[in-house]
């Protein structure tokens, strides 16, 4: 690479890094509990980006980076880190169980339940829901990331929402329990059982 070519590549990479490092880091940390592992994944994403600067579409930089991050995380899940992540998850679940006993209506409990429900969905369903609600990606950006049509994203998202809603309903999550007990403490019989 010529000096000028390298300077231009470095300038573009610097802009890319400045704009998206925090978004890529947030994306990975939302999906990886272990901070050192997450940091390694972030590094891997940007090393790939540096090597493949010419392949990154100028108007799709974020979705390109998140697509790489998704693959990096998937590869890591299949590698030796699987065992460590499993341990971390077991610890996390133990923590969740303690929360259930102490503060069932707490927001952190609700968040844990929702995250667990997402884990039970098919990976692609969970991912599309996270991309919308956590990464604030538009349908068009998700379509770019998955390489599918906007219509396909709409359909997939609708189905994913239905499946998550079913999971949450099965788990009797959210307001169905505590708030209604507070508002209507005197109800009894079958009507009360409905909220148990």
């Amino acid at each position: 690479m010529s000096h000028r070519g390298r300077a231009e590549a470095e300038q573009r990479f610097r802009l890319l890094y400045e704009r998206y490092w925090h978004r890529v880091t947030a994306y990975i940390r939302r999906r990886c509990d272990d901070v050192p592992t997450a940091d390694e994944a972030v590094a891997e994403v940007f090393v790939i980006a540096w090597r493949r600067m010419n392949d990154i579409p100028a108007d799709r930089e974020l979705t390109w980076l998140l697509g790489v991050a998704r693959k990096v995380l998937a590869n890591r899940r299949r590698s030796e880190m699987r065992h460590k992540r499993l341990l971390a998850r077991l610890e996390h679940e133990a923590h969740t169980m303690s929360n259930v006993e102490t503060s069932p209506s707490d927001m952190s409990y609700q968040a844990d339940v929702v995250r667990d429900a997402l884990e039970r969905l098919r990976p692609v369903d969970a991912e599309i829901l996270r991309l919308v609600s956590w990464e604030n990606l538009t349908h068009a950006q998700i379509a770019e990331m998955f390489g599918c049509t906007l219509n396909a994203v709409g359909v997939r998202l609708h189905r994913a929402r239905q499946r998550l809603a079913a999971e949450l309903a099965d788990h009797q999550v959210l307001e169905k329990k505590a708030p209604y007990e507070n508002v209507r403490p005197s109800i009894s019989g079958p009507e009360r059982e409905q909220w148990q």
Binding site: Y17, D59, R161
Partner: protein
């Protein structure tokens, strides 16, 4: 209180509440030693990105010193600047206020010019909040294109002691006369509908109906469910449509502004059919 988990908005709120990592709380590379170390490991050169200003740490004395320094620098620049040439052709500094002390965001240069590049960044909320303001492009003494929000008729560049970027001068090293930006801007580089709308409305003075038709066509081509809203009829002195993108509501709001320098009066869709190419709006491959 909404308790229906099947309600889409409610469900999205629930999923959002399960997000443990807030993006607003994430440091930027200039605030993170780990990020800067990583950058150095990857590129082999130290990170020299945007310097974020922390208002909490800024003391009045330091602030006064900065103001004085910038004032002197601007004075020197006024006295010595003779060149209107952009040296740094790949990036543009977009300022959030008509001041050199305002927050700035560095963005990639676009063939449409610095104003188009910054208008796009504004529309994405990366420079400031609210609708895209009227923008003015100047050149810093370092040869960087700097774009500031401006009031209609105001000489922002003059007030800051900077030379204005000559009309039609692009930061990118390609031919981009003002009469061709609306159609040749995409060239071989795909653009989003938002970029294309901004570029078209920067290049030509379109009425509300013309701008609305153009925007609807571009949204339709991209299969985006955006609506176009014209707040009220444009007053006599502000005949040209200016775009503001309301991302949460998926609305493009059109307001009237005075004609900008370099605008043509001939809308792109009245030109030959060969000019109507909008690369970047191609459909996704089916899966």
């Amino acid at each position: 209180m909404s308790t229906d988990p099947y309600d889409e908005d409610n469900l999205d709120r629930i999923v959002r509440s399960a997000n443990r990592i807030s993006e607003a709380g994430m440091p930027r590379p200039s605030e993170s030693e780990a990020a800067q170390d990583l950058y150095k490991r990857i590129t082999g050169t130290p990170y020299a990105g945007r310097v974020f200003k922390s208002r909490r740490r800024r003391t009045p004395a330091l602030f006064a010193a900065i103001v004085a320094t910038v004032g002197i620098a601007v004075g020197v620049a006024v006295a010595t600047t003779t060149s209107h040439t952009v040296v740094h052709t790949l990036s543009v500094s977009c300022y959030s206020a008509d001041s050199l002390q305002g927050e700035q965001v560095v963005v990639d240069a676009q063939a449409g010019g610095p104003v188009v590049a910054c208008a796009h960044a504004w529309s994405q909320g990366r420079v400031g909040t609210g609708p895209v303001p009227l923008l003015a492009a100047c050149v810093t003494p370092q040869g960087v294109a700097a774009v500031f929000p401006s009031a209609a008729g105001a000489d922002v560049c003059g007030q800051l002691g900077l030379p204005a970027l000559p009309a039609g001068q692009s930061t990118l090293p390609v031919s981009t006369s003002t009469t061709t930006t609306s159609t040749s801007l995409p060239g071989t580089m795909p653009v989003s509908p938002g970029q294309a709308i901004v570029a078209n409305l920067r290049a030509a003075c379109l009425s509300a109906s013309q701008a609305s038709a153009m925007a609807k066509l571009l949204f339709a081509k991209a299969h985006l469910a955006w609506t176009v809203v014209v707040t009220k009829s444009f007053p006599a002195g502000r005949p040209c449509a200016s775009p503001a993108f309301d991302e949460p509501l998926h609305q493009l709001v059109l307001t009237g502004i005075p004609p900008l320098s370099g605008m043509t009066t001939e809308p792109w869709f009245l030109r030959s059919k060969n000019d109507r190419a909008f690369p970047g709006l191609q459909r996704c491959p089916r899966v």
